[in-house]
Amino acid sequence: MPPDVLVESAPADRLGIAVLVSVGRHPLTGRTRRADQDARAYELALSIAGACTALLHAGQNDAENELALRGYLGMVGASESGENTAERLVVIEQAIGADVLPALVNALRELTPELVLCGMRAETGEGSGMLPYLLAEWLGWPIVSGVAQVESVSDGVATLLQALPRGQRRRLSVRLPAIVTVDSAAPGARPSAFGPARRGGLAVSAAASMPDEARAEWLTTPARKRPRRLKIITALSARDRFKAAAAKTQGGGGKVLTGVSPEIGAEAIQALLKEEGVLPS
């Protein structure tokens, strides 16, 4: 085995899980931290009995990142046995501005996990939320987004609860291996304890960096607060105001297309975008 292979695949009798974690950024102060959704993804992995979890991060290997990543290693709290916690976090070292997708695909092909968990989108970098979809495309695996709970895993099929708006849940079963993304509907991550975080193993694995050429051409500027459309409520009584505030938003102009060909769907989306002025008509 070459020296830079640092992740071992899970033993045959245990479910192999890979959790992709990123370096987060506090919304108020911009300090690096463990990313909230990724931490929830790891929390979800810890809740699955009899699993073997590997933590993967592709990015720069510097002191600030290390401190933030160690936050994941500090998540040992609730389970006394701790058999499910990852022994170490593997950093797949990448140059600044690299596209981490190929490196992650390689690592996952090597690791062959049955379940890949990650947050919906990163708190730093592009944060486009595209990574899990691209991974699924490259690996040819199914992807389920916005999962709140993994109910059971048996015979290569996982039963998941997907979070929908307004607290609704949808039970799905997905053939493994699969990529599952987690958003804020999933249970909150347990606190990160200083001692285990400091002791936890952090292994650095060198990997070729693929420069992200498209991104290098972009111009990035700090985001401006966008004006929000005011919802004008002309209600006379408190009851009406309450109803207006609590009512479901009426998607008046929307329509549900089922069982149509991709072309018709794409045309409908294009038409909507033109109508909203996003695309030039």
Binding site: H26, L28, T29, R31, R33, G74, M75, V76, G77, A78, E80, R190, P191, S192, A193, F194, G195, P196, R198, R199
Partner: protein
């Protein structure tokens, strides 16, 4: 016949006692090392015992006199009895003092027995109920067997029946006094207590000193344990200190959490630690339990975990989170045991190693890490409360006589009123002061008491680095928690400052006549001592002097000064909020209501928040700064002109230089 039996009894008891002592010492030495002087400690024992310890015991006159008679009598009687009856020395110089000493001890024992006839709830029962009888047995037995040696009665009196009877009584006394001392009987407190006084972890406390700052963890050493997860993680002299407990229950009587029915009894907690030290279950404990936690279910050993997680261990986490760190137990303990240090050590393990800090505590810690304040406000909104006050910033002036430390009360609307009052006072007295503004961070008090030493040290080091950039004579704050941390806990991390509480500083300003005061026209007031100002920093007089200088008639509560009852807001207890039967601030408000006042003066943002949380009708809660500001004679010109000056000048630095 007694001449043969007594030496055998005495030397058997002595040998067994020495074996027991060696075993006990070995148990204590399982703890981690501690940096205390060996010989300096031992030589300091007589003074610490006769002066410092006695001063605390003296608060209960009955028991202090009883203890002087009993312990004093025994301290003399034991070595002399060994000489007379063990070695057979029959000099009148020995026998008559022995008679006197045992008589003295006997009288003391009778008073011990009297206290035990209807013992208060705080006292432990069980073997402790046997103790007065054993004391009587020892003193009376030794007295009677000494009578022939002193020549008072003929040696052959009574025959062998009496001799055997006497020998049995003396044997009982010897067993309790000598064996019990080192094999874990009630008399253990004497043996462990003396050594505890010698090797106390805070020697500064003796001789009228004060040592209240928590001791820092060595975070640079990855091998050092982060707090106490098992009894062996305590330092050896902490273990020794637990063993010194005499189970008098004074801590239990003053503990606000115990009174509120929260699951903490400081006496039981110390006994839990003794169980952890010696191994076994707490079934042998005969005092009041942690409220709501039955006795007999917990067990532990030196190398077993302390915190109950799945199943049963030594101590439940709620017990540790109930503590408000008010130090009332430490202040009251005649053995000078450090309960709060032990509790924080165990909390450190919970937070730093197990990561199972209760939910709201986690939120606070995460906020402190990310935003430097416990409620997650934007750090650059720290000075919003003073937007119209034109406070000079340290970053602009670089140098000021007084650095006004705002504290996290900056984000609290109630405390902002106090802060504005304080600024009015400082301006009225023409004090040259400046603030750190957005460069200030939480002092770390809360993080440290929630057990997060890492976050505390991070905050403290950054604050120290900020403070080192500026020149100032002293730091002034209206928050006793910040005061305590800056004054007593930062020096260990490299920042030593002169820190004043605003009451101390205002008292000085008033004494110097720096402000014009119109006398208070309101009703009588009472004053609530904040724990972190009083017991932690010994400031009891200045706030009272300020109130008196305002012409107020001060009514003291029954529990005031060093025995003041906590408001319930310290040590993160208000954040974790372990349920009890009552709320601590409600009980304190009852104390206040008893005095019949309409205004209670406070000097701490936590106390203000806790006491104002009590439902109306209740006395009004006012900070000392607000009361003083109300009495300021409005010297309109000065106030106005000062403000105009500030408003007219873009850079306050110019103004300061002109003043100088």
């Amino acid at each position: 016949m007694l001449e043969i039996i007594l030496p055998i009894l005495i030397f058997t008891a002595l040998v067994l006692a020495i074996i027991g002592a060696a075993r006990r010492v070995r148990l204590w030495r399982q703890g981690r090392p501690s940096d205390v002087g060996f010989f300096s400690g031992l030589t300091a024992v007589p003074r610490r015992y006769l002066v410092d310890l006695h001063c605390v015991v003296e608060r209960d006159k009955y028991i202090s006199r009883t203890h002087v008679a009993t312990a004093g009598g025994f301290a003399v009687a034991a070595p002399v009895a060994i000489a007379v009856h063990g070695l057979g020395l029959g000099s009148a110089w020995l026998t008559w003092p022995l008679l006197a000493a045992t008589l003295c001890m006997f009288v003391g024992s009778l008073f011990v027995a009297l206290r035990r006839r209807n013992p208060p709830a705080r006292l432990s029962k069980g073997p402790w109920m046997r103790l007065p009888k054993s004391l009587v047995a020892f003193s009376l037995g030794v007295f009677v067997v000494t009578l022939p040696a002193a020549g008072v009665v003929p040696a052959a009196i009574g025959g062998w029946v009496l001799a055997v009877l006497l020998a049995a009584v003396v044997a009982w006394g010897l067993a309790e006094m000598f064996l019990g001392m080192t094999w874990g009987g009630p008399m253990k407190h004497a043996f462990a207590g003396v050594l505890h006084l010698a090797f106390h972890r805070r020697p500064e406390r003796f001789g009228g000193g004060r040592s209240t700052g928590l001791k820092a963890l060595d975070l640079a050493d990855p091998q050092a344990p982060l707090g106490a997860g098992k009894p062996a993680d305590f330092t050896w002299n902490q273990l020794l200190g637990f063993d010194a407990c005499v189970q008098c229950g004074r801590c239990e009587a003053v503990c606000p959490a115990f009174a509120a029915g929260q699951p903490l009894n400081p006496k039981k907690l110390i006994q839990d630690m003794v169980v952890g030290l010696a191994g076994g279950s707490d079934a042998g404990y005969h005092g009041s339990p942690h409220p709501g936690k039955p006795v007999g279910e917990h067990h532990g050993a030196l190398d077993e975990p302390i915190i109950v997680r799945e199943g049963k261990a030594l101590v439940s986490a709620e017990t540790l989170w109930s503590c408000t760190t008010c130090r009332a137990c430490v202040e009251e303990c005649p053995m000078m045991i450090e309960h709060v240090d032990a509790i924080v050590d165990m909390r450190r393990h919970i937070t730093l190693e197990l990561g199972v800090t209760p939910r709201r505590g986690v939120e606070v810690i995460e906020n402190l890490i990310a935003t430097d304040n416990p409620n997650g406000f934007a750090p650059d909104s720290r000075m919003h409360w003073a937007a119209d006050l034109n406070l000079p910033l340290m970053a602009d002036v670089r140098d000021a006589a007084v650095l006004l430390w705002i504290g996290d009360g900056a984000f609290d609307q109630r405390n902002q009123r106090t802060l504005r009052a304080l600024v009015r006072i400082l301006r009225a007295a023409d004090v040259d002061f400046a603030v750190l503004g957005n460069d200030e961070r939480d002092s770390g008090d809360l993080a440290r008491r929630l057990g997060d030493e890492a976050t505390f040290q991070s905050l403290a080091r950054r604050n120290i680095a900020t403070l080192s950039q500026y020149g100032f004579g002293c730091i002034l704050t209206c928050d006793p928690h910040s005061l305590h941390v800056l004054k007593n806990e930062y020096p260990e991390l490299g920042g030593s400052y002169q820190v004043y509480h605003h009451s101390t500083y205002i008292a000085e300003l008033l004494a110097e006549g720096r402000m014009e005061i119109s006398p208070w026209k309101g009703d009588k007031v009472t004053y609530h001592d904040p724990c972190y100002l009083g017991r932690y920093n010994g400031e009891y007089d200045a706030p009272r002097n300020v109130l008196k200088a305002l012409g107020m008639e001060l009514v003291e509560m029954q529990r005031s000064g060093s025995r003041s009852r906590c408001c319930g807001g310290g040590g993160g207890a208000a954040i974790i909020d372990i349920p009890g039967k009552r709320r601590i601030p409600d009980m304190r408000m009852d104390d206040i209501r008893e005095t019949g006042v309409s205004v209670v003066a406070v000097g701490c943002p936590q106390c203000t928040a806790m006491l104002e949380g009590v439902v109306e009708p209740r006395p009004e809660v006012r900070d000392i700064a607000e009361l003083v500001a109300d009495c300021l004679v409005p010297s309109a010109q000065k106030d106005q002109s000062g403000r105009k000056d500030n408003a007219g000048q873009p850079s306050p630095a110019v103004e300061i230089l002109a003043d100088a």
